[in-house]
């Protein structure tokens, strides 16, 4: 059966089970509450409605672009005829406008993000002072999740609805315009910076010209001075509205003009004024020129080491290509490098110089590893983790970090001009493939074999002569990293021992200062008894390359070298990438703080651990709760069907009530036959609007199986997202039989699957979860089985005893800020603390792989236990909840980031050559192949290839040093030790950077926070802006400080230690000294100082 049909069938089976369970009437609803959506149209309908709209969207999609469909839908919904009259009519019209806007916005945001639900508070039809009517869009904070363009489009949609319903323009009065000006300014000074800081006049222009009112809810407790205005309901800052106006309309002016033109919306020409503003931004950049260092290195944070200064020699070498576990922002590094630096585990984030800002590190062992100098003076190339582990403690310097494998798609995605490709085997092979001799000789040379073959130096030189190609990269060193003068010095030294060299034997030289030149050239050698020993192959290469003295007047070393060499010597590393360690990898169960087993309120009766059993000991407790009532027999319960007579019950209003928790717990525990309920934790109160509690039985069974619930009653496991397009069965722990059962047929070369070491292309909705995720999901599966068996009286479903039993089971992937789950299937496990899945799968959740993380939910858990009625009633409450399940991934309907994924097995010679000039990536598209070029064809799902193999997707450390070390001093110590070792890093710069961008600001911030801190009640948790004069909480409880002394002095000691041990600028050490003076003055009474002096002087 077709993969997607098969997934759908299995999903439907689970829906049946869930609906059957729900039909027992023990839950809030008698049916599962997650609608299933096959495509975007259905997702939109499931997420925001209205019913039946999916069909209309699909009709329109046939000959309209996505944007056109959205605007058409908005107009159609809003301009429907209404039957109501009078006040009802106005109300209905508002409601339709509201619906139209939300539905259209959902289409524009792919029916995934929460913005259409949470980002728009409401849409209203209001009156101008000339009595004409206009449309007002009320934005809320979460509009942020939609991004600037979508926020601006929401305004444009309002304009479309205005036109479609015959409303007039919004005509702001001067005060309203000035209110925007004030709010923008206040927002920037009091809340946070906007991505674009408009001038006051720009805000005026925007505010007076936007044809609908961009308004919204108060988002921050900051009052404006333009208060109590007739048409602006709040006196506080309207953050959502400002985002829509500034980061939307103003910042994306160019796009908006384009959209308004193609969509035929008149009256947006005034925006042209903003498109000329570009030089202004440049000006800003100029101001920052003094600090022109790339963003990644501007902040150096304690415990997050810098691995390379910007473009510094010895940092990561740029190598183009994609492995089966890179792309979509993830980049490959040799696992030996990861092992050596310790701070890089699979999935650790790196902030990078280019392309883009960040990446996740994954192991790729077919690229170059590090070159290190050992304490005994030897220089070696480290290619394997095993070797790295062996020499790790003997490293005195990391001369080169090795390669970073970067996909062309990353350049395309970030519009980063091309940078010179490393001189590497795959390029060398292409030069042969394109050589005259190869073409004329009828190509009877096995290039594939040659690419991996180890050539002797002599063979390499022969090849170059024979085919007239540059020297093989293995015998080319980092010549361009030293000066011509240095190279001449080296030549002189080599020459003085040249006569003693015998081919095939070790070349020995007397130790001299030129050894350092060998080191920075990356030439492996040994030091023994004051002799420098070079292996015969390398010696051969060196003596045949450096045949003569170089002309020191040449522009570059490589140029001078090619002058004397009759074989072309390529620049081995034209591009080095500076990096800094960012966020550590993560894979952990989702826990609320504190973590409950059940969404059952017990007030403060459960003690500080919120134990339900403890509250139950009191018998009756008072909680804010709603109940259900049977209209027939008047029985009270929490069930949707009356436990007495089976009639559907009616929900009551929440109220503070006395409940007999003791009896309830006893009954529940009898129900499911679990005696041990001591550890079950509840919540203090329900934060949902309905305030309906979960059945206690669910909590009991969760506690029994050691799993915890999230706010909407599902159980989550969070992991860092990593991409995977191909896997090897043995590495992810899946058997051939199981694979065949799951519908896998052949490996990526088209051969039938016969053994566990073949490379197999991953199906787009299959995922590889972490081992600890798998183990947690086994507990979840047992919980579900217990629930089915003991609570619903049904058959167990999963019957899982180990994580392997879950292979083939369905899950929902769900990312923060979104409200649509994506259907996935577990295919195996990784030891890495991450979730490997197809790039499409991550894109469907609107994530990429630069250290985003999100969750997986066992599908049956979501279908049975999730209820909208548990969601917090606060703004943003429905974010990160599975409001709809997307069952099929269509690459055309997901974030277009994944369409830039490279899928070719190799680059052409032209490509390599073009990278040496800063072409725009879009100019090189003819040389590459990516997903975007196969959209809508069967190839969008299969035969996606990779160019670089890796033998394991979880080689190297699984826990980075940042997480292995416990205390900040230890982390900083390790960071600075590493800085000392890496050649591409300036240790003093790192120490100063940590002090000036992390510790000192932290100390200063905490001192400031200390002297304006709030106090908090230990009993009822009430917060006071200032210590009350009574010194007590209203409830009589004790108050404690919210900023402790410890948090102020936390980094003081480490900083002092750093200043004492390393040479840092006087400026920094003085800054620290002054802070110390201030802190002592705050924490030490002068009286105690005096009295101790008094004692001293007797």
């Amino acid at each position: 059966m077709d993969y997607f049909k098969r997934l759908e069938q299995e999903t439907k089976d689970l829906y049946e089970i869930a609906n059957k369970a729900r039909s027992k009437g023990l839950d809030v609803e008698t049916k599962t509450e997650i609608p299933l959506a096959k495509d975007l149209a259905e997702r939109v309908e499931g997420l925001v409605g209205p019913e039946g709209i999916a069909k209309r969207i699909k009709e329109l999609e046939n000959d309209m672009s996505r944007e056109e469909v959205a605007f058409q839908i908005a107009a159609e919904i809003a301009s429907q005829d209404v039957d109501e009259t009078g006040e009802k009519e106005a109300e209905k019209k508002e409601q339709l406008a509201d619906q139209g806007l939300r539905t259209a916005l959902a289409i524009l945001t792919e029916g995934v993000v929460a913005a259409p639900l949470e980002g728009i508070a409401k849409v209203a039809i209001k009156k101008n002072f000339d009595n004409t009517k206009y449309l007002a869009v009320y934005f809320a904070g979460p509009i942020r999740s939609a991004g600037g363009t979508a926020a601006a489009l929401a305004v444009l949609l309002g304009d479309k609805i205005k036109l479609a319903t015959g409303l007039s323009n919004y005509k702001p009065i001067n005060d309203e315009i000035e209110r925007y000006v004030e709010e923008v300014e206040l927002y920037e000074s009091e809340v946070t910076n906007l991505q674009y800081s408009p001038t006051s006049d720009e805000v005026r222009t925007a505010a007076s010209n936007i044809p609908v009112e961009v308004t919204g809810e108060a988002t921050d407790q900051i009052e404006v001075s333009h208060k109590d205005m007739e048409r602006v309901e709040t006196n506080n800052i309207r953050g959502g509205a400002l985002l829509a106006m500034i980061e939307g309309i103003v910042q994306k002016a160019k796009k908006i003009i384009k959209y308004s033109n193609t969509l035929g919306l008149p009256g947006w020409d005034w925006l042209k004024e903003f498109t000329h503003e570009k030089p202004k931004e440049d000006e800003k950049d100029d101001e920052n020129k003094e600090d022109s260092s790339p963003k990644y290195i501007q902040d150096i944070i304690g415990g997050r080491p810098v691995l390379g200064y910007p473009s510094e020699k010895g940092a990561f070498r740029l190598r183009y290509g994609r492995s089966r576990n890179t792309g979509l922002a993830a980049m490959g590094v040799n696992p030996a490098t990861m092992e050596l630096v310790g701070f890089l585990a699979v999935g650790t984030q790196l902030k990078i110089e280019f392309p883009g800002k960040g990446t996740c590190v994954v192991p790729v062992d077919s690229i170059d590893g590090p070159i290190v100098k050992l304490k005994n003076g030897n220089v070696i190339k480290v290619d394997t983790v095993k070797e790295a582990k062996k020499i790790k403690n003997n490293v005195s310097e990391i001369l080169f970090l090795g390669d970073m494998l970067v996909a062309f798609g990353e350049f395309l995605r970030n519009n980063q001009p091309m940078l010179g490709a490393a001189w590497c085997e795959e390029w060398w092979i292409e030069t042969i493939r394109n050589s005259k001799k190869y073409i004329n000789d009828n190509k009877n040379l096995d290039l594939e074999k040659l690419e991996t073959e180890k050539l002797s130096a002599k063979e390499a030189f022969n090849f170059s002569e024979e085919y007239d190609v540059p020297l093989h990269p293995n015998y080319v060193y980092y010549y361009n990293d030293v000066t011509i003068k240095d190279l001449n010095a080296l030549i002189k030294w080599l020459n003085s021992f040249k006569d003693s060299f015998i081919e095939g034997e070790v070349f020995a030289l007397d130790l001299s200062y030129q050894k350092r030149i060998l080191e920075v050239l990356g030439i492996p050698h040994e030091l023994k008894d004051s002799k420098v020993l070079i292996n015969p192959e390398i010696a051969y290469a060196l003596l045949h390359t450096l045949t003569n003295n170089l002309d020191e007047s040449k522009d570059s070393t490589i140029e001078a070298l090619n002058d004397i060499s009759n074989i072309e010597i390529k620049n081995k590393a034209p591009t080095y990438i500076g990096t800094r360690v960012g966020r550590p990898e993560k894979s952990k169960e989702r826990l609320m703080k504190p973590a409950p087993h059940s969404l059952f309120p017990i007030n403060h009766d459960g003690g500080s651990r919120r134990l339900i059993a403890e509250a139950a000991k009191k018998g009756n407790i008072r909680v804010d709760i709603a109940r259900r009532k049977c209209p027939e027999c008047q029985s009270i319960s929490f069930s949707s069907l009356c436990p007495n007579c089976g009639t559907p019950t009616i929900k009551g209003n929440p109220k503070t009530r006395t409940i007999n928790l003791g009896a309830m717990l006893k009954k529940a525990s009898d129900n499911v036959g679990v005696r041990q309920v001591d550890e079950m934790k509840g919540v203090v109160g329900l934060i949902s609007e309905d305030k309906l509690p979960e059945p206690l039985e669910k909590g009991i069974l969760r506690a029994k199986n050691n799993v915890y619930t999230f706010k909407e009653a599902t159980i989550r496991h969070d992991s860092t997202d990593l991409p995977l397009t191909h896997f090897i069965p043995s590495e992810i722990g899946v058997t051939v039989k199981k694979l065949l059962d799951m519908g896998y047929e052949h490996d990526c070369y088209g051969q039938p699957i016969e053994n566990e070491n073949q490379i197999i292309e991953l199906k787009v909705q299959d995922i590889v979860v972490s081992t600890n995720c798998g183990e947690y999901l086994v507990n979840v599966a047992n919980y579900i089985d217990d629930l089915l068996e003991k609570f619903y009286g049904m058959d167990r479903f999963y019957n899982a005893t180990c994580k392997e039993d879950l292979i083939g089971q369905l899950i929902a992937g769900l990312a923060p800020h979104t409200s649509a789950g994506v259907l996935g299937r577990i295919v195996g496990f990784t030891e890495a603390l991450a979730c490997y899945a197809h790039p499409y799968f991550h894109s469907a959740k609107r994530r990429n792989c630069d250290s985003d993380e999100d969750s997986v939910i066992l599908l049956l858990d979501a279908l049975i236990n999730f209820s909208k009625s548990y969601l917090p009633s606060t703004r943003g409450g429905s974010m990160d909840a599975p409001l709809v399940l997307s069952s099929r991934i269509d690459p055309e309907e997901i974030d277009d980031e994944s369409q830039k994924l490279d899928i070719m097995s190799k680059f052409s010679l032209e490509f390599f050559e073009k990278t040496q000039k800063p072409y725009k990536p879009s100019e090189l598209l003819e040389y590459v192949d990516n997903v975007g070029m196969h959209l809508g064809t069967p190839e969008q799902y299969e035969n996606l290839m990779f160019s670089h193999h890796t033998s394991s997707i979880h080689a190297g450390p699984h826990l980075c040093l940042y997480k292995r070390l416990n205390s900040m001093p230890d982390k900083v110590e390790a960071q600075i030790n590493l800085a000392e070792k890496v050649r591409a890093v300036d240790q003093r710069g790192v120490v100063e950077g940590v002090l000036s961008s992390h510790f000192l600001p932290d100390i200063m911030g905490n001192v400031r926070a200390f002297s304006r801190q709030k106090v908090r009640c230990t009993k009822c948790n009430a917060k006071y802006r200032r210590m009350p004069l009574t010194g007590k909480c209203k409830c009589g409880g004790n108050l404690v400080m919210s900023v402790s002394k410890g948090s102020v002095t936390k980094y003081l000691e480490i900083s002092q230690n750093l200043v004492n041990r390393y040479p840092v600028s006087h400026y920094l050490s003085q800054r620290l000294e002054i802070q110390e003076f201030g802190i002592n003055s705050l924490f030490e009474s002068d009286k105690s100082k005096q009295s101790s002096l008094d004692i001293f002087f007797g």
């Binding site: 001075s225 002297s1011 004069l1029 924490f1083």
Partner: protein
Amino acid sequence: MNDIILKFAKKGINLSPDAYKKIISTEDPNDFSTSLILKLKTKNYSKNDFISLKGDIVNHYIKELGIKTKNENKKEINNLNSLDNFNKEQPKNNTITKEQQKNNTITKEQPKNKENLINDEISNKNLIKINDKEVSPEFKRNLTKPNVNYDNFEILKDLTNQSYTSGELNNLVTYFNNRYQKLSKIIEKHPEMKTHQKISEIGEGQTDLNLILMVNNVRTTKNGHNLVDFEDDTGNLNVLFSNKNESVFKQSEKLVRDEVVGITADKRGDLAIGNNIIFPGVPRMPNTNSKCGIVFTSDIHIGSITFLEDAFVKFIKWINGDFGNEEQREIANNVKYMTVDGDIVDGIGVYPNQEKELAIKDITEQYDEAARLLGDIRSDIKIIIGPGNHDASRLAEPQPAVPEKYAKSLYKLNNIEFISNPGYVNLDGTKVLMYHGRGIDDFAIGVKDYSHERNDLIMEEFLNIRHLAPIYGERTPLASELEDHLVIDEVPNVLHTGHVHINTYKNYKGIHLINSGTFQTQTEFQKIYNIVPTPAQVPILDNGEYKQLKFID
């Protein structure tokens, strides 16, 4: 010019020839027209009224809006030239210029009424531009011991080495209770507050309330009333100030968090309705009959690349009697005291990336440079130096004096006294309360109708509420000392502040309110906040008379 007529016509306003003339005589007729139309349409008339605009109405608004007409401007410059025969240039801040007005409309600190727009106390009469005439080319340092009597110099309050907080929770309780008690004592003296009670003592059926309370929070209700959450050391009380009772409503608009006031209120059921608010206030202070000159400075920012060294050296030459015309040198000769109210140096690490704006990157060297410059001042002038937020001291107020460790070279000079912030000195009978002025920010940025430009109004408010930085938890970090030293216990003759870099002067109930401006040009930070400093203008009380000297063109 037809534009103007058209502009009015569009809004249904007919201009009389006289009115038109008046309008085009203003400095920026276009700008003025906009404001005028707005005023007319929002205040006096409805949107659809047709208006015939006469000259006298225009005149009224020219005055109300404080608009400069072209002719008037000229006149003032002429006046200056003929009367004082000083520099031809018009002093920058005797009136708020058009530009500043424009800026004011953009910033949120837009002063609302006319009073807020023009500080008329710094009039032409006492603003003096120092002549660019050097008397002697060399510094003439007075190295001999002066024959001056300092018997009447006294430090009334210096909190250095008197920080008794240990950062514990109970310090916070003590601190705010001390503030409450100190201010209660002052308010108690008010006749209406002689008998007052605690919140816990309010009886069930009691209707009249007399209480001394600390403000916890001020809110505006849906109906536009002010609801204030008050407390004392026995409990909490909400008091409603109805917008129907205009006078008390206006008073309540002025309330800021954590100040202490007296309240009389009617209790109706659970709700208390405020009748009157009694602020601690200050009595009128008699003239001090001072017989010497006191020079007030602050915010010199030595070490910053934006420090105006030339102007400062000019100032020193003047004070030494080596600069200016005879009359101006006469003023210098009379000077006996000089105060430096914080930020004598730019400090280090005060804000992110400050390093780039520093000429001297070492704090000790900054104070050394200060010593070099101040060392040139004749030694018979006593200099009192307090810390500011840029100095090497703790940030939380009260700030102890700059420690000798960093300012050794200044400590070596015999004529310099170091003092805390705030600090209180008696200069031959003139009591000067020196406060650097962080607390001004809380009002200028956080409280409606206040601005950095008119910090004199904020100082007036400090005196009314008898506290220098009442608002806790915002911009001014406060140390929870056992005693609240920021309470103005004793009423001074001079309240001297700095920090905001904008000179102001006001005589309020006989008390000189002086902000001594700066010797630094506009900083990046000020650019962002649209704060236009008034550099190198030095206030002086010359035998009790206020004068302001300008050392920059």
